[in-house]
């Protein structure tokens, strides 16, 4: 059983939860930019939460089912049709062999996740199927989906269909407040630059991708001119000499030599990844204790939100 890619859309990538434990070889994490929507896609088709799915950026993906399957699409507001019939997002659907699954272009948000019951059956490399195009690793051939690609999956019958109630679905506005934990070279930035950073709006530029979101706004360059390359974690806010911050995401390089203010919490990196060029963000500093609380509350909320059966 499989899914045939009839139109790949702008950027559709196979992603599982990410590649961990290989940063020492220079391999980055990859994985879904919006982990929340990714986990829900898998949960709605009764998958293990880290199963391989498709991340669709902007939209335009058309697939043909070659077998009877169940799917769910979550994330950005991308119109979903199955054989021309409009279908609800955040809901599992039955797809019969020969039917076409089509995703239009997102009206709100930027990334969607399409999960198939029992997951896409892709051979992992370095323990993961996450596609990192820069490294030519993961997915089918280390690159984005292309017309004619065949994605193996399992035939599924009699799955209980689920839907996430409307009030539990996230909304994707064109701005975000990014909570960050101060760290790295934070003290090498003057108080004035830090005040400027936390009180200003920064706009997403079009030079943003899965490696990092390049922002534009008041100059907040540090006094550091040269430093030795060091390990970079998810969400790190890098400030090169031009004083324009870059928030580093899933496909970031593992080491780098620019000063950093600290790191955006993963939960807010997901919101950032749903923005488009021209949208704006603000930053808010949180202590490491607050970040732990925020994560605990979010984890609890996720387990306590229950999808309802579709009648």
């Amino acid at each position: 059983m499989s899914l045939l890619v009839e139109q790949p859309g702008i950027l559709s990538l196979i992603q599982d939860y990410g590649r961990f434990g290989y940063h020492n070889l220079g391999l980055t994490t990859g994985g879904p930019l919006d982990v929340h929507a990714f986990k829900w896609a898998n949960r709605l088709v009764h998958n293990q939460l880290r199963a391989s799915a498709i991340e669709i950026s902007i939209g335009g993906l058309n697939l043909k089912a070659q077998g009877d399957i169940y799917i769910a699409v979550t994330g950005a507001n991308m119109p979903l049709t199955i054989d021309g019939r409009e279908c609800d997002l955040w809901t599992s659907h039955r797809v019969h062999s020969g039917q076409c699954i089509a995703l239009g272009y997102a009206s709100e948000g930027c990334r969607s996740y399409l999960a198939v019951a029992r997951g896409l059956l892709i051979e992992p490399s370095f323990g993961s199927t996450a596609t990192v195009m820069r490294e030519r690793i993961g997915g089918l051939h280390g690159t984005k989906l292309a017309q004619g690609d065949v994605l193996p999956c399992a035939d599924t019958h009699n799955l209980e269909r689920l839907t996430l109630p409307l009030n539990n679905r996230p909304v994707y506005p064109s701005h975000a407040r990014l909570r960050m934990v101060p760290g790295y070279q934070y003290s090498a930035f003057t108080q004035l630059k830090k005040s400027l950073f936390f009180s200003s709006k920064y706009q997403l530029t079009d030079r943003s991708d899965r490696m990092g979101m390049r922002l534009q706004g008041p100059n907040i360059a540090s006094s550091i001119r040269q430093m030795l390359s060091e390990g970079i974690c998810q969400g790190a806010i890098q400030v090169p000499a031009d004083g324009q911050p870059i928030v580093l995401l899933n496909d970031r390089q593992t080491i780098g030599g620019y000063p950093k203010l600290g790191s955006v919490m993963a939960i807010d990196c997901a919101c950032l990844a749903q923005l488009r060029p021209g949208d704006w963000v603000r930053f808010k500093a949180v202590s490491i204790h607050e970040s732990h609380n925020i994560n605990s509350v979010a984890a609890l909320a996720f387990t306590r939100q229950h999808p309802l059966p579709v009648k």
């Binding site: 290989y22 790190a236 970040s291 732990h292």
Partner: protein
């Protein structure tokens, strides 16, 4: 030594202000101590020059526990003996045919091409960091006489195995990629092989030496030379 927060799930340990083989050995020892104490709670470790980034699993442990364990791991008394780290020898076919920037380095340094090759292969290099691309190892430091700044315009195509110099660093390109380092030879071995275990013959903290080989041995060891090895532009 200084332990700083890097992010919600990571610490960065700074060992010194300047890189040296002793600091590298110390980082290597710390990695082992961290793995012993924090084992399964570690998601990833990134050693580099003078620091170690420790990424931990927030589902299992919290900041307080990791910080406590990290301090214990750092303060574990261990004898540091530089030079006891693993050493690897890499064969290199140095020539103008396989290293299009050899001539440029020789001219800059007012040395003969043979002298440049000699100086490069006499060095014993420390693996300071791995990054930029999978398997790309930063080795230091080359003799100051052959230190050469990066090309002003990077090449669009540097072949797999290219041995290169940038300032006082040297490296072997693990795969074909764009690159701005000065190319002086080719290594016939595959330095990053996803299907091998381990995928890389070297790790951070190891030492590397280069051994000059001739064209015949290069080809015998699996090396390949083709017409358009360095892209159309040739030198620079």
């Amino acid at each position: 030594m200084n332990v700083a927060i890097a992010g919600e799930n990571s610490f960065i340990v700074y060992f010194a202000n300047q890189a040296s083989p002793i600091i590298s050995a110390q980082i290597d020892l710390t990695i082992q101590a961290v793995l012993e104490r924090l084992g399964p709670a570690i998601v990833d470790l990134i050693p580099s020059y003078t620091s170690l980034l420790v990424i931990y699993d927030l589902d299992q442990v919290d900041h307080f526990w990791v910080r406590k364990q990290l301090y214990a791991a750092i303060n574990q008394p261990e004898k540091i003996t530089p030079g006891s780290s693993a050493s690897t020898e890499l064969p290199v076919y140095y020539s103008c045919e396989s290293g299009p920037d050899l001539e440029l380095i020789a001219t800059r340094s007012k040395l003969s091409i043979e002298a440049v090759i000699d100086l490069h292969q006499q060095g014993c290099y420390q693996v300071y960091a791995i990054g930029f691309a999978p398997g790309f190892a930063y080795l230091g430091e080359v003799d100051p006489r052959i230190a050469t700044p990066r090309l002003s315009t990077p090449r669009l195509k540097v072949p797999q195995g290219a041995v290169a110099i940038a300032d006082r660093q040297t490296a072997v390109y693990p795969a074909m990629s764009p690159g701005g380092w000065n190319l002086i030879g080719l290594c016939p071995l595959k330095l990053f092989n996803p299907t091998a275990n381990p995928p890389m013959p070297i790790k951070v903290g190891d030492q590397v030496r280069f051994r000059a080989i001739g064209k015949a041995e290069f080809l015998h060891l699996g090396g390949a030379l083709s017409d358009n090895l360095f892209g159309h532009s040739g030198v620079i």
